[in-house]
């Protein structure tokens, strides 16, 4: 620390002024400091105040949707009628001509339909054994 010249002491405040100044500064700063202490809670509570109605609306909305999906409607008859009109047999479900139910057990017909003259030797079934 360098040597302090004497003239600078004349710039320092006397004790009375120093005490008055300190008191004035701290008093003026109190509301600002209190604001800093409260700011976190204020921010949190402001957000909570803003979000409470939004949360309530969302809760009601989801509750309504859950009720609609969970409880079956009383008007089941009209639902069945509508389903019968809408549902058609798919093409893949139509059995080809050669695959009629009474011939499905005859393997030669299957191979004839596929264009193979000599069917491969089949291993005997359990029934044949």
């Amino acid at each position: 620390m360098h040597e302090r010249p004497r003239w600078v002491d004349t710039l320092a405040p006397d004790d009375v002024t120093a005490a008055r100044l300190r008191r004035a500064i701290v008093d003026a700063a109190r509301p600002l400091l209190a604001g800093r202490r409260d700011s976190w809670w204020e921010v949190a509570s402001n957000w909570a105040t803003l979000l409470t109605p939004v949360a309530a609306v969302l809760t009601l909305l989801f509750a309504g949707l859950a009720v609609r999906q969970g409880v079956p409607s009383d008007d089941t008859g009209s639902v069945r009628a509508a389903a019968a009109d809408v549902v058609e047999p798919l093409r893949s479900e139509v059995v080809p001509a050669g695959f009629t139910v009474e011939h499905t057990d005859d393997a030669s017909i299957v191979f004839a339909a596929l264009g193979e003259a000599d069917p491969p030797a089949l291993s005997p079934t359990n029934a044949e054994r």
């Binding site: 120093a18 008055r20 300190r22 500064i25």
Partner: protein, 186 residues
């Protein structure tokens, strides 16, 4: 005896609204701040206003202070701009320095002596360019290093050295001349 807390810790507490920590910063800096402000504005009452405004301004902007940075140089840059604004606003450049010998609390003759010396010092400081004056006061009154003075003024360290050197020399000359004149009058 209370333990002196480290400054970054104090600043952090002030940021959270701690009145006691703020009071500790005021205790550390208000006396020197008063001297710096007085050297700029020239009148004791204006110096008090400048110091109070500077502390409040610093408090409202304290989040701008980087964590771990020293409070002093940053605060003095706030104080300097506050005092300069006050001086400009009040048109204090051509003020008349009035000896303030009423509130010292000591013996009246001592208070008057002190007031007259202060008047002479302020008159001598008034002759210096503003940056030079603040550099000298921060260096001699606050005991700042050139690095800290430079940081407060927003100048290079070399410039701070030059300001302090030339400012001190000019003050010595001015105060020496004033003392010689007083002796001549007596």
């Amino acid at each position: 005896m209370p333990v002196e807390r480290d400054e970054p810790g104090l600043v952090s507490l002030v940021q959270q609204g701690d009145v006691e920590a703020f009071g500790e910063l005021v205790d550390r800096y208000s006396d020197t701040a008063y001297g710096v402000a007085l050297s700029i504005v020239g009148k004791p009452q204006d110096a008090e206003d400048a110091v109070q405004s500077a502390f409040i301004r610093a408090l409202t902007r304290i989040d701008q202070l980087r964590p771990g940075s020293p409070f002093g140089p940053w605060f003095y840059s706030v104080l300097r701009s506050t005092a300069l604004n006050l001086r400009r606003r009040e048109g204090l450049r051509s003020h008349e320095v009035v000896p303030d010998a009423t509130s010292g609390g000591g013996r009246p003759d001592e208070d008057l002596d002190r007031a007259l010396t202060r008047q002479a010092v302020l008159a001598a400081l008034e002759t210096l360019p503003e940056q030079q004056r603040t550099a000298v006061v921060l260096y001699d009154l606050e005991g700042f290093s050139h690095k800290e003075v430079a940081e407060s003024l927003g100048v290079a360290v070399g410039t701070s050295r030059a300001h302090v050197h030339h400012g001190r020399k000019a003050l010595r000359d001015h105060l020496g001349r004033a003392a010689g004149m007083n002796e001549g009058e007596a």
